[in-house]
Symmetry: C2
């Protein structure tokens, strides 16, 4: 199950960023499960990683390598997360990098490894290293769609988007892919997200851009509240578009470029929710007029992760009492419930601590019949608005997660 058509736009190649896909046969023979990305020399590369203390071996190694030098290759396998694998897992991630470094005539530290799939199984490293030559042979700039397929696990469809903007008289492209369908409450990034642009951006500015954009996209989605061990997100800027280099956040090109990047990140993050495990609804939770972002997020996530709210959404049941109960337990200090109003889409359902006098069950049922729903919660205690995106909880969610070994 998934929400929306899932139709992808044209994925524009990014000059200076090549992708090769191969089949290593990690879980199933013949499945595309290995993706190599080559970053042109002179690019800036920024990344963010999971904050889960049990972060996977490739995450640990990628963070080390990123501190040492600008990466030239990103190598991703699916089918095995190489997480909860201890010292042997680190050695296997290291070996993958060494083999690729040797084949590509690059330094080991110029390679960032990524893994996604089952946790706690030994990485079949030989299958991966055997497939590296095929991946390298496939490197080309117009391989984004295949890469979106190549990083899928329980995803039912590829997730990708692409925009082009005019920057300083140059046409700049931003293209990205993402994957993830369960264990989704990113705390840094999604399971995996890769975005590349040919814009020229200075390294430290690119890092600020990815952090800000992730904070408004991948860090604002939740399917089940479970932050993964492998979340990683990378933003590459090759500079091949030859715009005036964006070298500070006050650069005249910054805002336009940042807006386009954020749009790509938000689309990729939303695509993960639309394809959430067992999802039948795409739900936007919009907390308005809060005192600050922190309390807005407490409220938004209390509602978004409430199993009772999520099962009511699955049933298309306008059970506003469960929404109020979730808001009430969110942990906001001195919350005056009499000031709060709740809308589903444009329908006012609750205010002054109870059901709105104008509200009818039919209105609620009509609003919830749609696949895409917005729940707006106005706290009336400030001027900060915050949005998160989530899904419902269906029988399929239980079936998928009682059967699939993450």
């Amino acid at each position: 199950m998934a929400v929306g058509s899932g139709q992808l736009p044209t994925l524009h190649p990014v000059a200076g960023f090549k992708i090769g896909i191969a089949s290593a046969g990690i879980k199933k023979p013949g499945r595309l499960d290995l993706v190599i990305m080559q970053v042109a020399e002179g690019s800036a590369v920024a990344a963010v990683f999971t904050k889960n203390a049990f972060c996977a071996a490739p995450v640990q190694l990628a963070k080390q390598h990123l501190r040492a030098q600008t990466p030239l290759f990103l190598v991703t396998n699916t089918g095995n997360a190489n997480a909860g694998t201890g010292a042997a897992g680190l050695a296997n991630a290291q070996l993958t990098c060494e083999k690729l470094a040797h084949l590509a005539n690059a330094s080991v530290q110029s390679i960032l490894p990524f893994s996604t799939g089952v946790i706690g199984e030994p990485l079949p490293v030989e299958k991966i290293t055997n497939a590296l030559p095929a991946g390298l042979a496939d490197l080309r700039e117009d391989n984004w769609l295949q890469a979106a397929h190549g990083i899928m696990t329980t995803d039912t469809r590829p997730k990708a988007t692409s925009v082009q903007i005019d920057l300083d008289g140059k046409r700049v492209t931003i293209t990205g892919i993402s994957k993830g369908a369960g264990m989704i409450k990113p705390n840094m990034a999604t399971m995996l997200g890769y975005v590349a642009t040919d814009a020229a951006v200075q390294q430290d500015v690119l890092q600020q851009i990815i952090e800000r954009a992730v904070n408004r996209s991948f860090n604002r989605i939740t399917i089940d509240g479970d932050t993964s061990t492998n979340d990683s997100c990378v933003l590459v800027a090759t500079g091949h578009a030859r715009n005036a280099t964006i070298d500070s956040v006050s650069h005249p090109l910054f805002e336009k470029f940042y807006s386009a990047v954020e749009k790509v990140f938000v689309e990729l993050a939303q695509a993960i929710i639309r394809d959430g495990e067992g999802a039948t609804k795409f739900v936007t939770i919009n907390v308005q007029d809060g005192a600050n972002e922190k309390e807005n997020l407490l409220v938004a996530y209390a509602v978004a992760e409430s199993p009772l709210v999520k099962t009511a959404l699955f049933a298309s049941d306008p059970n506003w009492g469960r929404i109020l109960a979730a808001v009430g337990r969110a942990g906001v200090e001195n919350l005056d419930v009499n000031l709060i109003s709740v809308h589903i889409n444009n329908v006012l359902i609750a205010e002054h601590g109870g059901r709105a006098p104008t509200y009818t069950e039919q209105q609620g049922a009509d609003a919830l019949a749609a696949e895409e729903i917005t729940i707006s919660i106005n706290l009336s205690r400030g001027d900060v608005d915050t949005t998160v995106w989530t899904t419902d909880f269906s029988h399929d969610y239980v079936t998928i997660n009682a059967e699939y070994r993450t």
Copy 2:
């Protein structure tokens, strides 16, 4: 579905505490849905209530009345929570108290109202007040079992326990009942819990006892992480056993009495978990050797409320990777994952950041085959142990909550 036999022990009457049950026909004609409890003059009464900001009208009123004087009557209806009902809800709770006060020739403030059931529907107050005379006529000391039935909503069975101890040469009885099966992560108390004893205990000591006992029982259970709007728990001490009054926490009788009370509270709290909506497993999460209770609770609840862990438990799948992932995202500062070990029952499943070398899938499957499971997580960073209790997430959980309007 429910875990265990649910067989109840003999419920000893408590001298000075009478119970009357009636049928008000709130949701279904003929169902026992109204319970009146009469507290003998001279008793001490302590109570704790939900911390949900959207607390129900009866909770607001009960707190007010409790501050004003020692209660003489507790009146509970099921079938309607009188929550999210605004000013009209408060007026209805007030009216219930006024009618009972008139019939019983007591002051309005001597009555504590309690409601449980659907949120957001107007309280059918006339049905309740019409049934009050029948409830009063039924008052007697040996009505505990009927009361346990009378406070049920989606509960599949009554929850009650009773112990007797010798205190100061007197036989002291402690008997209690509870209810709750969904919207269960009490933050003060369960949906509803009533415990009475004939011990003589001073009011302020009784309040300390209920707070400590609730903190180790009802506040340590979670089914779905959803704290209710109506959680309330009351402990009554009639003093009819005529023991030397326990007037401080250093009184020689305190520890023995407190232990017996805590035992009753823990049994009532566990009974709620065993009857959790859709529950097929009773799971004890035991966090050991943490630095403090706060971080232990972060870890325990991250595991207990992880939908991925809960669906794996439903599938009897020893998916230890999901347990590690939940521990890792719990938010404990400077967590060294290499020091952590995880057992299921007596089976060591993970240590040093990965699967234990001695562990086999067969061991894990055997451990999870039982209805009652203990997951022990040793953090090796202190000497504090903390236990919480929870259930799995089953198809029935989704079915029940997609169909029932709380």
